[in-house]
Amino acid sequence: MANADCIVIQGSNMAECHPVGFQWVAEAKARGAKVIHIDPRFTRTSAVSDKHIPIRAGSDVVLLGALINYVIANDLWFKEYVTAYTNAATLVHSDYRDAEDLGGLFSGFDPEKRAYDTSSWGYAEEGEGPIGSPGSEHEHGADASARAAADTFGSGGPPLEHAEVQRDETLQDPRTVFQIVKRHYARYTPEMVRDMCGIKVEDFEYLARTITENSGRDRTTCFAYAVGWTQHSLGAQFIRAAAVLQLLLGNVGRPGSGIMALRGHASIQGSTDIPTLFNLLPGYLPMPSAGRHDSFEKYIAAIGSKQQKGFWADADAYTISLLKAWWGDAANEANDWAYDYLPRLTGAHGTYETVMGMLADEVEGYFLLGQNPAVGSAHGRMQRLGMSHLKWLVVRDLNLIESATWWKDGPEIESGELRTEDIETEVFFLPAATHVEKAGSFTQTQRLLQWRHQAVAPPGDCQSELQFFFELGQRIREKLAGSEDERDRPLLDLTWDYPTDEHGDPDAEAVLAEINGRHLAGPDAGKPLSAYTELRPDGTTAAGCWIYTGVYANGFNHAANRKPGQEQGPAAPEWGWAWPANRRILYNRASADPAGKPWSERKKYIWWDQEQGKWVGDDVPDFPVDRAPGSNPHPSVGGPAALGGDDPFIMQADGKGWLFAPKGLVDGPLPTHYEAQESPVANALYPQQQSPARLVFPRADNLSAPSGGASGADIYPYVFTTYRLTEHHTAGGMSRWLPYLSELQPEMFCEVSPELAAERGLEPYGWATIISPRSAIEAKVLVTDRMRPLAVGGHTVHQIGLPYHWGVGSNAVVSGDAANDLLGVALDPNVQIQESKVASCDIRPGRRPRGKQLLDLVADYQARAGLTTETSNQAVTDPAAEGIEPASGEDGRPDGGTG
């Protein structure tokens, strides 16, 4: 980021949430880079930016779409880059219909399943149909959504049958991606931005001018986002919209470019790479789904076709190596490498479905591992009531968090909904070790693994997760030893023999070595692998997470590399280890032009050295190192060998950056603006109000406020958004127990504009009660000009800011009502992340009522707004306008749309 000429921070409060990372922004700014912060609130990030542009929460696609339109309409896109490195020239199948033509729906929507059949979005093929996915069957969007299939693209794009696409290098064919994108965003104008985002036309022009003036051969613009983009019902599309813009401007794969995801937890990147997620196996391999992956053959075929370009074509080697790492000799060719030891998905099994499963008494036991859902997850009441249905609950944490004590002092005890004496749940609190009391690696936000050495032993009963789960596994295996039951085989055959120290605790480095992988046969048998390209689909290699292969190359823990930064160049390759293959910038082939020369001296990074016949530069080339710029293998070859010299996006099935996503997303191939699940504003672009494919849960305990101008919307007239403060950490488990942090932000508060304070009679630093369709909470009032009413479509929209760090309990140094109690559960269909950055509420002065009166207050609001489980939960807002019969649903092709 320090190399950027312009930094746009949107959907992130970087200075507050990543202060030390922000030093690189500060450094870029000191060198003259422009920093623009786009956020509903004026935050500490805005305070040190060149400009703050207030935006209505949830309207980001309108703004980004208008920037895309501006770039295309004013001919400011980076032509050489776009033509060579993106799919702009690729032709899309003629069955495709855009949301612009169908009133906000893309072709293929199935109102019965509330999901798209995405087949019409495919690339055109010589002959008839679109290019589909590999494997025998086409996957419906509803099924892809249920297994949050988009998560599997954490290390590369979705698969294609093959990469023999049709292209029109002139970009004139109306079916080219470029023309489709151009048409799609034509109505995303500065005036639309003014009317939907509440952004002044001159502010938009400043933004557009600054970004485009700082893009091109010589200059680069970088975007930074965080959960301000992801936590929306179309969060994935927010990020896609920025990706489309950045690709058009040539700002991907180059120094000071890109879209930087600022992640909030020490190893949240690591926890998706080696996933504690229901739908993934290590290295972004999918968890098998019943019906789709019933055999090993089908599973492999569905991940990556041998005919597509790039490294996903070797998915069989990655999978077999994983199964060998887990089940050793019990995984062999005869039993398909123990593929059937893997459990199967039958739909969405994400954390919110799990909580609903608790309420339905389907889930008996629950482990909380450094997580505090009673405070930190959306709809806190549902979380706590869910836990009260469990038979047993294990909480492993440093402090006695609210998720461990809700049965004693939670809000539902106070409201009388639960009585401690009636709660059957057994609760185990097992104290955890801190980061200095155990050795191990974190993967930070730029995919860098950094090893921590153990400094001291954990005190008292404290244990690391490594110790606890190793021991738990040992005990379970001991208890099952001798079992004849076939279902116990995967546990009994599991490789679980890690070397231990004198206390019986496992050696973390041995686990890292297993993750890295080793040769199982041949002269190197037993030796660590040094690169994932060494993995073989024949059982001669084992590796627990293929993208991490190389971290333990030569038996050396590269995550522990600590050559001081001041003794290295800016890429600092000898500090820690970045996946894949210690690369610091992904897709860095794009930092050179198609002929392999740097785009400019100023932005030089990786280039082709003709004499040496290889790619050289400041980083590990993210490209076959000897693939010459002009090489043009026949695409039918498949795999890495098929990558052309100008295919920098090596993990994409066609080697190109995707402006238009023919596969992989379930809610549209192009980002399109829809309003949030709850919004007081009607969608001015389309009759369709919300994303038709969003996931909703119409339940009496999860009601939504009416949208736009619908009846009852005025009962919850304000927008609220949730966020973090510098002084605290997420749900507070690591900050509210610390006096030094607690004193800096001791109390829950809400931030409101002076105008809203006047409208509702709120006293500065007095109390206010905030009411949503789910709950009501109280907070101290900060009246500030940092919150600004926005003029949106002729109305004034007031936004209320709510930090979410506090929770109700009696053990922390500071406690208070939890903002997340106000949220409902509505999810992005691609990744199943909840919409927690925007929802509707009312606010009034004074503290909230106690006891049953609190429930009465919430119920009274619900009744006045006339809420039912139908409210705001329709897939298609206006079926008539879309030409869809509400009941029959036709066949999913809403051709009669009015547009």
Partner: protein, 335 residues
Amino acid sequence: MGQLSGPTDPTADAHWEHSHPRKGFFTDTSICIGCKACEVACKEWNHNPQDGDLELLGSSYDNTGALGASTWRHVAFIEQGQERIIEARESGRALVNLGMPRIGPPTSEPSPMDLAEADTTPPDTADFRWLMSSDVCKHCTHAGCLDVCPTGALFRTEFGTVVVQDDVCNGCGTCVAGCPFGVIERRSNGTVKVAASREEQHAKHPEVPNVGVAQKCTLCYDRLVADETPACAKACPTTSIKFGDHDDMVETARERVSALHAQGLTEARLYGANENDGVGGTGSVFLLLDEPEVYGLPPDPRVPTADLPRMYRRAGMAVAGMAAAAALAFLGGRA
């Protein structure tokens, strides 16, 4: 012998045999992100107890209020509208045009830049700003606290900083009144508060150190002796707090003001860098974006002992006068 006001080298005045270059902070508030890492890093290093009563203070994001016995770095948050920004820009420009009494080195030197040639059109004056500024002990050239301390508990270190020796201080509190910035205070019986209903305790609450004793920033004297950076400056994510030789700090600060002025940001001005002010200049200098009062800083700090010579002179004259009067009366009586 040393002097009690005006420009001087305080370390030499204190007769250190092996004195180091004078050390100090330069706090550049224009790049402060208000994260308060300085407050926490300071408390961690010095084991200072938690302050306050764990309630919102009613002052934007500031909940520690002011410097005191247990808070040695304090971040102020000030919200301002456009009118005030324009005023600050004008008042800063006026300082320059007046030869920058607070910014300027001795007036013979040329001002750091010729504003006549630069484009000082305000760049895109924002309609709102949020100032953040980390305050700290000034380590004055003429330190009121030190000069009035009757016990020798306060002393001038070999780095030119001013430090309380808690083993010497008897808690008399004279220094509290002696500080023109209100920095030094006696530590009350503060506690590290935690909720009452705790099931188990990992450790006993640390005893609050130095209760009843005068306390303030030591500029991490116990780190300087080992050539380590003070905790706050080391932690500061954006280098808003810089640490180094005092002369370099003042130089850096002047350059930074010039750079901001060249961008038209004439609201930038220095605080504490004028060795002709009432404390002989401060060891901790600041770049502010508005009048000092806005940040809760005295506009014209004055060390009480600066008036001592004048007071003694006047007292002397009064004594002489009275003696003369008495003599006259006596003589007159005689006559």
